[in-house]
Symmetry: none
């Protein structure tokens, strides 16, 4: 029986007891993240998490009150996807909607396939766990609301049609990415990056065309013949 990361095993400089324990905690979270994504929440036992993290089961409950607390901490901690979108939105300034959507899409390309898998997992779990659903729904609302509000400013600028449903656009734009992620989450990193980049650009372009005003459309097509 191999002892892994037992206390006192490491006298390395970086490792005060407190630091060591923080690392262990993180290892548990990381292991849980990976296993949850692969087998789902209910399909992952705390036993397996402990094994994967090289830790005893009891220690998991030393750090986290319940298995669900582990899930919630993961949900609260990992926001890369929504964060990407919001960051891009906040830096919007007076850029065109087209540039914005492309920027968001490009940002999402940077997201790894693991991140995609995590989003797929969260969305799936949210369907089944009411308190997680609340968390996910509100996060989604923030992102969609952000997109809608930013696009609304571009309607006034004449770039987008006044009669387009921006809610539908935001919903569909986002949903398209989400579906893409869940469908391609099992790709390797290289293939993922390639496919994701291609899809992201084409999809951002189409969504923009879907809501662009005739004037903006023709202006765009003369620039890119």
């Amino acid at each position: 029986m191999t002892r892994r990361a037992g206390p006192g095993t490491r006298t390395s400089p970086a490792g005060s007891r407190a630091a060591q324990s923080a690392i262990r905690r993180e290892q548990v979270l990381a292991a849980a993240l990976e296993l949850f994504c692969e087998h789902g929440y209910a399909g992952t036992s705390t036993r397996r998490i402990a094994e994967a993290a090289g830790v005893t089961e009891g220690l998991i409950f030393h750090y986290f009150a319940t298995k669900e607390a582990l899930l919630f901490e993961l949900a609260a901690q990992r926001h890369t996807f929504a964060g990407q979108v919001l960051t891009v939105m906040q830096r919007a300034g007076d850029r065109s909607a087209r540039e914005l959507l492309l920027a968001v899409a490009a940002g999402l390309t940077g997201v790894s396939s693991e991140e995609g898998a995590f989003i797929g997992f969260m969305l799936a779990e949210a369907q089944v766990n009411p308190s997680l659903r609340a968390q996910v729904t509100s996060a989604t609302a923030v992102v969609l609301g952000g997109i809608v509000r930013t696009l609304a400013r571009r309607v006034e600028a004449g770039e987008l049609r006044a009669d387009a449903s921006l809610e539908a656009a935001a919903h569909g734009f986002f949903g398209g990415f989400l579906f893409f992620f869940t469908q391609h989450r099992h790709l390797g990193p290289a293939a993922w990056r390639r496919e994701a980049a291609a899809f992201a650009e084409a999809w951002a372009d189409q969504c923009w065309r879907g809501i662009a005003s005739p004037a903006a459309l023709s202006a765009h097509s003369t620039k890119c013949p």
Copy 2:
């Protein structure tokens, strides 16, 4: 001793033992469907299914070899969503892509929120269950492939741009609906119908504009000022 539902077997009246048992079987499937959608596959015990179906637990295993067999049968049996899409596609004839997308969208509106919940469940479960994933992936591929092929014919007809990525379009179009479904699955029937109809129409319109040729676009706008 294998029981076969051969033609001669059904001379007995409708209330016969055979018919009774078929009904029971169906009740089990229905109960499983509902519980799976609400609590997920792993979150639903065979005991709860039995209770909900008004049947003993043992009987479930008389009808289905394993709990997973129940899941697979559900996956194979209930295809309303994908079926809707395919049916519309097959009847496409020479209708315009715009009409087609709107028809698909309208078809999806007719789908109940329960159906939407079922799709959400299947997609979620597929992330976790490899054999289900295969089934779902191939079903999705058929639907998306059908959309792409049908749209491709309309490129030749000049209605759609030749440089548009139809794969991205199909993916996004479909994904938009899926995301909408998972986000609104907890709505009551009336609200669902209203919201779904509004979204479906707007979304079909936008997706069409995203890939329409300039000629088709201007032709459309002169018709609907």
Copy 3:
């Protein structure tokens, strides 16, 4: 690993499947009773009960929803002690209080030391388990109330003093037996019977003298010089 009482092992005439299962259920209860008395409720694991009953742990939960349900069923089922007292009381008729207390005492002598141990266990557990306490308290109230009411009739008959606290008498009479039981529960059957009989008679006599009227006392002493 010796198979004990497995299904199908017994083709004995008395043993239909239903009867067999009732027996098994009873075995579980009996094992639980014994272990609870020896190690307390919290100190007895369902594992040990299963082993002692020659049954798998799962089966216990097939019969009883929870470990606590086992406890409650035991509490509801085994009432020999209180039952003895009440039966004697109900048959009271117009017997003297002295005869009554002696009859109660004699009845309690018939109670085995196991029964005494069970009472000790219940009283102990009731201190710690609120719902069990409610049950025990109400059972005790019934018994004490019965004693008080029966004695009250003998006050009117002049056998007992009008100024004696019958509540205190009933409480103390009963409590004396209870304490005796808990103190002697580890005796063997023979020694138990001897000690119990001696104590019961002496104690009933003293309690009677404690509340008897002077007239009854002198009448008694002339009869038994």
Copy 4:
């Protein structure tokens, strides 16, 4: 390095580290006492004791080798009840048995309901824990023996009947109080004091009458008509 509380050690002021640690130790004992009484020994985790005492779990094991050691120390330390009885007995002198029993009863009235709860707990726990049982049994034997021996002297004085079983009397007298305590341990302090005083007096009186000689009885009744 063994720390000894030798006389020279205590020259430090009252707030010294040593004093501090003694206080902490006492807090742990107090917390354990209260929790044990409420939830039983097995039903109280060291974690809860630590929380209630405002101390880390580890510290408990710094002071006490095991959880059981905590229990034993409590058993050895708190003897108010038995102490009361013995003190009264030792000061007996040539007082009458009647006065003695009333004094004992009065002494027990002074005992708080917490003390009553503690006795109930100890008696309950003794049924389950052999080494505690030994301790409790011998303590009980001392008290009961003390009562018996004191009463025996009053038999010679003619106050008590020669043919009365003093063992049964002592047992029952004590048991009556014990049962009263366990039945009323959940009363508030005021109600407790009232109820306890009433019961104690009535019970002591009855027990005395149960074993008093005819002469003493009539002498008593002429004094208190």
